[in-house]
Amino acid sequence: MTEAPKKRGRLFYKFLLIFLIVSLVPLGIVGYYLVNLSQITLNRAISRDQEALAVGFADTVSSYIINFRNVLFDAAHLEDFASMNVAKQQALVSHIMQLHPAFLEISVINADGQETVRLGRFVHDTKMRDLSNDALFTKVMRAGEFVGGLEKYMGSYPAITMGVQIVNPQTNQPVGAVLAKMSLTALSSLLKTGFPEATHTQAAVIDSSGFLIAHSNSKEIYKPDAKLPDDVLNVLLRNDAKTGSGEMILESTGERVLAAFAEVTELGWVVYIQRSVSVAYQASDDMLKRTWRMMLIVTVFVLFLGYAVSLVITQPIQALREAAIKLGEGDFDYLPDLSMPNDEIGELAHTFMQMSESLKVKTAEIMTAKDELERLNRSLENRVEARTRELKSAQDELIKKERLAAIGQMASVVGHEIRNPLAVINNSIYFIKTKNNAVPAPDPKVAKHISIIESEIRQANGIIDEILGFARTRELNPKIMHINSYLEDLTMSFPVPPHVELVKSLAPENPVVSIDPDEMAQAIRNLIKNGIEVMPEHGKVYVRSEVVDPGTVRVDVEDTGPGIPKETLEKIFAPFFTTKARGTGLGLAVVKKVADRHKGRVEVTSVVGQGTCFRIFLPIVQNPPPAPR
């Protein structure tokens, strides 16, 4: 069992990616939306708040100023004051200044414009002035009261001048005026209290000409040329609206700010509040930061969770894949453990196992069928081969038979045609011989030639016999006979020359065979004749019969001649094959033919220099008829 490489498939990463997208995208959208919403909300809320603050503060400023005017007004309407008793007035003014530290200096002026009382915190010149031609005095006397004339008191403190008529309560006639300069630094203090530095909010009060009256940063106010940035002033001074708010970018610093303003009624002043956006949006920025942090945490969490989930999901699939690979390799027996949870993948695994089982069975069937097919194929091939061999040998046999039949036919015709002239010659020579013998002194030479002719006729006749014997196609005429007596008769009548000894050795069983005596005689005679022919000097011819097995008897004809070389041995039964100078080459072919026709066979063994042995195997007749010849 080889361990499949633990490779993460693409599915694993796909799962991770999907988990990340699914969890981060909504979070991102919600975060973005919330941050945006919070910014818009904050923007609106802060703007609205600032505007409200500005309006509220404008009221405060207005009340503050009016409050002090009222103080002067109330004092100026007192009977003691209207009496224009300087001492009483002096005491009252002194009392007011003690009560209200904002008053820098207060002067009382009679109807003629002569200063009667002059008190001031930083005034050491107590000389009374003639203010009859003073514009401010004129204005007060004509209009009843005056608030204005902003200045940098002593070059540093923003201050305002206000004046009220001194009115006789009985006559209700103006009898003089009270002029007072009051410090406005308290407004800055108020602003500072309302908008401490920690809030990163700046507030200021300006008049319609851009004069900086108060500022939440008190340092600003004491600067000799203190004023708001030009771009802010531009917006504030050109605006006709009583109140307003919005976001703007300061040209000087490039800072984004949320700004609001409100007009101070009657005075024509403007209260301006600005807050840095970065500060204003602190909350939403926090939210953004938290969102990012959240997303990071979620990412890590999702990665871990996704890893685990992907593992849970992909591991069974991986296992299935490994199993499928094993299955593909044809390894049915060592499939990995596919015990899976009871879910769809578990079902898949179960189905897979069923499939592999079925596949195993089917494959086994197929393999068996294949083996069977191969076996059948082999058997078929063998049969085809065997059949082909049979057909081939049958064809060869047929061709041989046809050839032999043609030879036989020709030989028959030739033999017949030659036998006629031979018969004539034979008759004639008989006639001549008879006549020659009849004379009183026959010529011996004539007798010798007659004898030669007779011998040649016999030889020619023998050749024809041989050819016709091989060629003849007559049916076998078998007779049941004992082999031994047959061989005895045959050898007895055979003309054996004196230099050859014929030795018989016959089987004691004396088996019964079914043979055509003429044909078998021809075969055995051919063999004996051959044996004699190869032993011109001297030698032995053995004729034997021997039972080799219960069904077969063997007839041997063996000589002690020179033997036959191996290469020749294979061809000696072929028709027309001969090693003799004279001869048809049919002698042994006839032997083979006769043996074949008797359902037997012929074999030959030979040792060069020792001799040759021909063996004819013949079937033994098992239950011979009662009286065989």
């Binding site: 031979l422 018969a423 007559r474």
Partner: protein, 127 residues
Amino acid sequence: MAQQKHKILIIDDDNHLRESLAEVLDLEGYATIEAGNAKSGIASAKKHNPDVVIMDIQLPDSSGFQICQELRRHSRDWVLIMMTGRFLSAEEKTQGLSLGADEYLTKPFDIQELSIRIRQLLARRGK
């Protein structure tokens, strides 16, 4: 002996064979009559009433078997001998013998043997 000469009719289309056979049979002491075909052979037999008829198995106008059959119909007394240049099958031999032939000769044949055989066959018929 001269008066007792047996008559032998030889029917063969081969002139040389017929003549040479006639000559040697003459030497052996027989009177011979020759015929070159079946028709004249049968006519000759009827005319001369021979003791022996030697005929070739194949003749131009008829087969030896037919002549044999016809001659035997004519006389049961004649010795009928058939000559052939080839081996005869067992059936042919049986057929020939059943049609009345007394003997078969395979060419070439030994005259002395033939002579002896003829005498035996004649003796069997009491001639």
